[in-house]
């Protein structure tokens, strides 16, 4: 009886082990395309970040400001809410 139980357990463990290994290989197959997609997304994010910084670069902002009639605040144009830093 004990021998039968031991053999049964060994068989089940063996089957589980085989099943886990098959799963592991399946996941490994899935992992590669997922990694590739992640890399692509990260590369795209890096490019978009460069584009964002390019669009917000001080030189471009100044050109746009000039186009729309804006410029650095001159004296008398800065308002400070109460409690904030006071003019010197």
């Amino acid at each position: 009886m004990a021998l039968t139980l031991t053999m049964g357990s060994a068989l089940i463990l063996g089957l589980v082990s085989v099943w886990l290994n098959i799963e592991r290989v399946d996941k490994a197959y899935d992992l590669r395309p997922m990694e590739k997609r992640l890399d692509e997304q990260e590369a795209l994010a890096a490019k978009l970040e460069v584009e964002r910084n390019n669009l917000l670069s001080p030189i471009r902002l100044r050109e746009l400001a000039q186009k729309y009639g804006f410029g650095p605040a001159s004296q008398g144009q800065i308002r400070r809410p109460a409690g904030k830093a006071k003019p010197q």
């Binding site: 490019k47 970040e49 030189i59 650095p72 001159s74 004296q75 144009q77 800065i78 003019p87």
Partner: protein
């Protein structure tokens, strides 16, 4: 019968023996073969198996990024495709050359030459953009392949080009901070082995060594990209307006010692660095050693005051602008007689400075300026950081001392000057300049006091006179606050000895003049036709100061009419756009000109500007006393009609 039985047994034994021998031979053969495979061929076969089931992969990390103090990107790496060919796999050389030429814009002859070579790998074009890469992919040309590399990008183009430097196509830093921090920024390599199945698909069954971080490390600078841009623009305007050869400027925050901006002109775009001359790549602010001229005089004053050789009120004869010493003449731009020390700085008298220097003595002066950092590297992480040129004290003669007292005969960099002024602004205690926020640099020694706080305040007071009184730096005044400054107009040494007709115009400003928050130093090489620091550079430094103060919300209101307005800088100089930016509800909506008399000038201007007129101001003061057109007149239809407000 017995004989037959005996013979039969013998035959059986023979058969059995044969079978046994055969078995033995078979087993020996098998064992021999197994032993041969295991013991002799084992290693080779194992390698073959590895080749079939394992593949080596090489991963290269991208280069780290460079950020400004606010986290804005200054330099980063992104993926880009590069095209290469394996000529042995190319089937149709002419057709491939034709198609590649069309996509990449490379001549067919050049491509044919490469395609015909007997090589296994040839680059065709590196770091192409995504659109072109897609076209190459779609063309599906046998023997033509794409691989991924990292391309270095500078999103702000020209901004801080000389400071950042650039890296080459292989990702190695070649100039500037890219070179200095190459070891930190450079991406690392990781090589690992992966399993593959019969069809060649790769299996990642575990980390297999890929847990290593191969990306280069970032650096964060103290530079503020907005202020860098402001400084570069002001510098460029000044150099272009006065036909200078080049210029350099630096802005430093006093409390932290942070370099907020370090600008050079002419500038270059590190994205396309090959299109500019290597001469322009130089970070002149840190590398070019020049004679500082009169911007050096405050340090002479500090040394003389510290050694108690002079007091601010001690009088010196400025010899009416011309003084002979050891057969050489020292000249002043303005002819002055007896002047107290503070006015020697205010009017920038070379003769007065030379006499103070002679009283101070070589040893005292040399030691003092050496402690301020002249003749030593600044310690900023800039490739080729220069020491400047201060000869040993033993080699100085009387003329050297006299010339050195007004900043001639010695060589300094813009960064060294900023560092020395930082000590002055820091009440006589040295403070290291900082260009990189992270990684933090170790500070070796505790800051040392070079001169007393009392002396620092006296020198600052003299520098305030330069700007706020009738000194040489009047054009740097900012209404509503005080500015301490010093002009410099240094003669350039001629390559054949002596001095030529070229000058370096410079100006340094500390703002506010009491307890400074910021230091701005700028120099322009060989400006023409005007070469005075107070004219060429002071207005540009003022522009940087006002924009810096406005950026930090510290730009003060105009308190009252100042000597600047009296000197002609009236509110008529206010830009229309600036005035338009503050609309107010006024009594100006009627058809007639309102009575502006008695109104504060600001309110009167707002009313006129809202109607589209920019008035001319006459007189000095803040209250309108008279107006043209008179109150009650119809608004002129011509927006260019003359509008005048008399103020007192």
């Amino acid at each position: 019968m017995a004989k037959r039985k005996k013979e039969s047994l013998k035959a059986s034994r023979t058969k059995l023996l044969i079978v046994m021998v055969l078995f033995a031979l078979v087993w020996t053969g098998l064992l021999g073969r197994a032993a041969w495979l295991q013991l002799f061929k084992g290693a080779d076969l194992s390698r073959m198996v590895s080749r079939q089931h394992l593949a080596a992969e090489l991963e290269r990390g991208e280069r780290g990024s460079i950020y400004d103090r606010n986290g804005n990107l200054l330099a980063t790496s992104v993926e880009a495709s590069s095209v290469y060919i394996r000529p042995v796999k190319v089937k149709d050389v002419d057709g491939t050359a034709y198609k590649l030429s069309k996509i990449l814009g490379i001549s067919q002859a050049k491509l044919r030459k490469k395609l015909s070579r007997k090589s296994n790998f040839i680059w065709i074009k590196r770091q192409i953009n995504d659109r072109i890469a897609r076209k190459i992919e779609q063309a599906k040309l046998p023997g033509v392949y794409l691989t991924t590399e990292y391309v270095r990008l500078y999103p702000n183009n020209y901004l801080a080009g000389q400071l950042l430097g650039f890296s080459g196509i292989d990702g190695k830093g070649l100039e500037g901070l890219e070179k200095k921090f190459n070891d930190r920024l450079a991406g690392r390599k990781a090589q690992f082995v992966v399993q593959r199945d019969a069809s060649g698909r790769r299996l990642y069954l575990d980390a297999m060594g890929r847990e290593m971080d191969v990306r280069g490390k970032d650096i964060h600078l103290t530079i503020d990209s907005h202020l860098q841009s402001v400084t570069e623009n002001a510098l460029a305007d000044s150099v272009k307006k006065y036909n200078g050869k080049w210029g350099a400027a630096i802005v430093v925050e006093v409390t932290s010692g942070d370099v907020l901006a370090m600008a050079n002109y002419p500038s270059f775009n590190p994205n396309i660095f090959r299109t500019s001359s290597p001469n322009i790549w130089r970070n002149r602010a840190a590398l070019d050693v020049v004679e500082p001229g009169s911007t050096f005089k405050p340090f002479l004053m500090a040394a003389a005051l510290e050694h108690k050789v002079v007091t601010p009120e001690k009088l010196f004869d400025c010899e009416n602008g011309r003084w002979k010493i050891n057969g050489k003449y020292i000249k002043d731009t303005h002819k002055e007689g007896w002047l107290p020390v503070h006015k020697i700085l205010r009017y920038s008298s070379n003769i007065g400075s030379a006499k103070i220097g002679l009283e101070l003595g070589v040893q005292n002066y040399h030691k003092f300026i050496s402690e301020l950092g002249f003749g030593h590297k600044t310690g900023l992480p800039i490739p080729g950081d220069r020491k400047g040129l201060i000869r040993p004290a033993a080699k100085w003669n009387e003329i050297d001392l006299a010339a050195g007292s007004f900043g001639q005969g010695i060589g300094v960099t813009t960064v060294q000057m900023a560092k020395a002024y930082l000590a002055l602004a820091n009440k006589g205690v040295e403070k290291p300049l900082r260009l990189v926020q992270y990684p933090r640099s170790e500070q070796d020694e505790a800051p040392k006091r070079i001169f007393s706080a009392e002396v620092a305040e006296k020198v600052l007071s003299m520098m305030r006179e330069v700007v706020q009184d009738d000194g040489t730096g009047r054009k740097a005044r900012i209404s509503g606050t005080t500015v301490a400054g010093k002009t410099g107009t240094a003669q350039k040494a001629h390559s054949k000895g002596g001095y030529g007709t070229e000058y370096i115009a410079a100006f340094v400003a500390l703002v506010p003049g009491y307890n400074p928050d910021y230091i701005v130093y700028m120099m322009v090489d060989d400006p023409k036709p005007n070469h005075y620091g107070g004219t060429v550079v002071a207005p540009a430094v003022k522009k940087i100061m006002t924009d810096t103060l406005a950026y930090y919300g510290k730009l003060p209101e105009q308190r009252k009419p100042t000597p600047v307005m009296a000197a002609g800088e009236t509110l008529t100089a206010m830009p229309k756009k600036a005035l338009r930016a503050t609309p107010v509800k006024t009594a100006s909506s009627g058809d007639n000109v309102p009575d502006l008399k008695g109104m504060p000038i600001r309110r009167a201007i707002e009313i006129l500007v809202q109607k589209g007129f920019v008035p001319k101001l006459k007189g000095q003061g803040m209250t309108v006393t008279k107006q043209l057109p008179a109150a009650g007149d119809k608004w002129p239809e011509d927006k260019k009609a003359e509008m005048v407000l008399w103020v007192s």
